[in-house]
């Protein structure tokens, strides 16, 4: 028993050490966001603000609030569709072997490595042709397509852990391809979905380049564009910028906290036993 307690203490010590390291930059972020403009900058970065100023937050919130809703309209469908399609892709690529499935997977992987910057021109032309340029709908489509390689990859490797016998057993029981996905694989996919949703939500939420190129009307732009636009081209009010970053990160953080709970349960274990 004493040994177990000692182990726990070591775990706590290690966790705390890592935590301090992780929080160092966050401290700078927080301290700066509460400063009046004339205390902002490198020389005074470690100092806590002499008096808490909410100017930064007020200014940032005022400019960001209009774009918050756009981001939700963008992120929620884009995340769920790309996660769902990625999960089915992953299932097909890992459990149903067909001719060319390896080649297909290789192509998808290469797609992941195409830099954002080099697809800007073709992307714009494509969106114009299908009449979605300038709309959030167009942006959703872009993110679904661009997100597929990663969601597919994560699910494929996640399902690789799942014993193939499980699926085969279902097939013997007479379940079709999709039925065995729904009945066997989908219920145990939750940790996989958590990882994929965290990834997609964060990336689409924080993505700037596509957003700013596809939508030019400020009333249609997602929050990241407004966040970057808090900075002037010459003078940057870092207190406003960092307050804005904290406000912008809050929804993502809530998603983490909500989804993180699922990590704390051994979901797969239960279903395998059953």
């Amino acid at each position: 028993m004493a040994k177990k307690k000692g182990k726990k203490i070591i775990v706590y010590i290690l966790l705390t050490v890592f935590l301090v390291g992780f929080l160092l930059p966050i401290y700078v972020l927080l301290a700066t966001s509460f400063k009046p403009f004339d205390e902002v900058g490198k020389p005074l970065m470690w100092n806590w603000p002499s008096s808490l100023s909410f100017d930064g937050f007020a200014k940032a919130f005022d400019k960001l609030k209009g774009n918050l809703i756009n981001s939700f309209i963008l992120v929620i469908p884009a995340t769920f569709v790309s996660a769902m399609v990625g999960s089915i892709n992953g299932y097909v690529l890992s459990k149903l072997k067909f001719r060319g499935s390896n080649a297909l997977f290789a192509i998808i992987l290469f797609g992941m490595f195409i830099p954002y910057q080099s697809i800007l021109f073709p992307m714009i032309t494509f969106l114009q042709n299908i009449g979605l340029y300038g709309s959030i709908g167009g942006l959703i489509l872009v993110h679904i397509i661009y997100g597929l390689p990663i969601t597919t990859l994560i699910f494929r490797n996640y399902y690789a852990e799942v014993p193939t016998e499980l699926i085969e057993a279902a097939n013997i029981d007479g379940a079709g391809i999709f039925k065995s996905y729904w009945k066997v694989l989908f219920p145990i996919s939750l940790p996989g979905f958590v990882v994929v949703i965290i990834w997609q939500f964060t990336n689409i939420w924080n993505e700037f380049l596509f957003a700013v190129t596809v939508t030019s009307d400020p009333t249609k732009q997602p929050i990241t564009v407004a966040l970057v636009n808090l900075a002037g081209s010459q003078v940057v009010e870092w207190n406003v910028q960092m307050a804005g970053a904290i406000i912008t990160a809050l929804p993502t953080l809530l998603v983490y906290i909500f989804l993180g709970k699922y990590f704390l349960r051994g979901l797969l274990a239960g279903s395998v036993k059953g």
Binding site: Y12, F22, P25, I114, P115, L153, F208, A249, Y256, R265
Partner: protein, 253 residues
């Protein structure tokens, strides 16, 4: 073809390739190492582990533009020795002035590894280690508890269970993490751009910044796409071995 010749003879692009190589290696291993340690710690089911877990994920939620600036302030060296700034100031005030250093303004290197990259790597690992942890956690949670229970009945210790049972099962997760991290490291732009720019004499320059400047500032669209193509071909170095090993293991199964 003239474009390709130009790029390869360009000293900036050569620096970029070295930078990418070292950055990718240290970034991937840094994240995997830190990620798995954090996952094991959080997975050890102590009270409050969930809170720690959320804190470790938090950096990922922040936009690179802003974290890049915070890191650039932290690793700004100031004027040494009399006027240290950022982390140097912190070292100085706790009596560790021996650790003061020029950080990302350093132009020293060792076998083409620019030391100025170290702070950039730290910043990138900080941002992505939490996600690597999340991937490992998903993997650890996915391991049926029947496996470990059986091993425990057989009298295996915690470490044995980890190395003999959990680690092999986590292999596919490690692979996806590696690929995802590799693709981030090749695409990394915002963080470096906000943190150091290209650095003195391009010591922290990366191909994506070079491509961006060539395409969108210098208006040399053809040369810009040539850089992108070269980068894509280099990606094959990461992907092909991965594909081969993954297809092989599939055959075995």
């Amino acid at each position: 073809m003239k474009n390709y010749e130009r790029i390869f003879s360009d000293s900036r692009f050569q620096t970029d390739l070295w930078n990418t190589l070292y950055f990718t290696i240290f970034f991937i291993f840094g994240c995997l190492f830190l990620g798995i340690i954090l996952a094991i710690l959080v997975d050890s089911k102590v009270k409050g582990a969930g809170i720690f877990q959320n804190f470790f994920l938090f950096p990922m939620a922040l936009a690179f533009v802003v974290t890049g600036t915070v890191w650039s302030w932290i690793f700004a060296p100031g004027i040494l020795p009399e006027n240290p700034e950022g982390i140097n100031l912190l070292f100085n005030s706790i009596g560790l002035s021996g650790l003061e250093w020029k950080w990302y303004t350093s132009t020293d290197s060792f076998i083409n590894f620019n030391f100025a990259l170290i702070p950039v790597i730290i910043g990138a690992v900080w941002q992505m280690a939490g996600y690597t942890m999340a991937m490992y956690l998903a993997g650890l949670r996915g391991i049926p508890s029947t496996f470990t229970e059986a091993a425990m009945v057989d009298g295996a210790s915690g470490w044995q269970i980890f190395w003999k049972i959990k680690f092999p099962i986590l292999k596919p997760i490690t692979f996806s993490a590696m690929i995802i991290l590799a693709h981030i490291s090749l695409k990394i732009f915002d963080l470096v751009y906000a943190m150091t720019g290209s650095g003195p004499n391009n010591v922290t320059d990366v191909p994506s910044i070079y491509m961006w400047e060539t395409t969108f500032r210098a208006n040399k669209y053809a040369r810009g796409s040539a850089i992108a193509i070269i980068m894509l071909l280099l990606v094959a170095i990461f992907i092909v071995p991965y594909l081969v090993s993954s297809f092989k293991s599939n055959k075995r199964a």
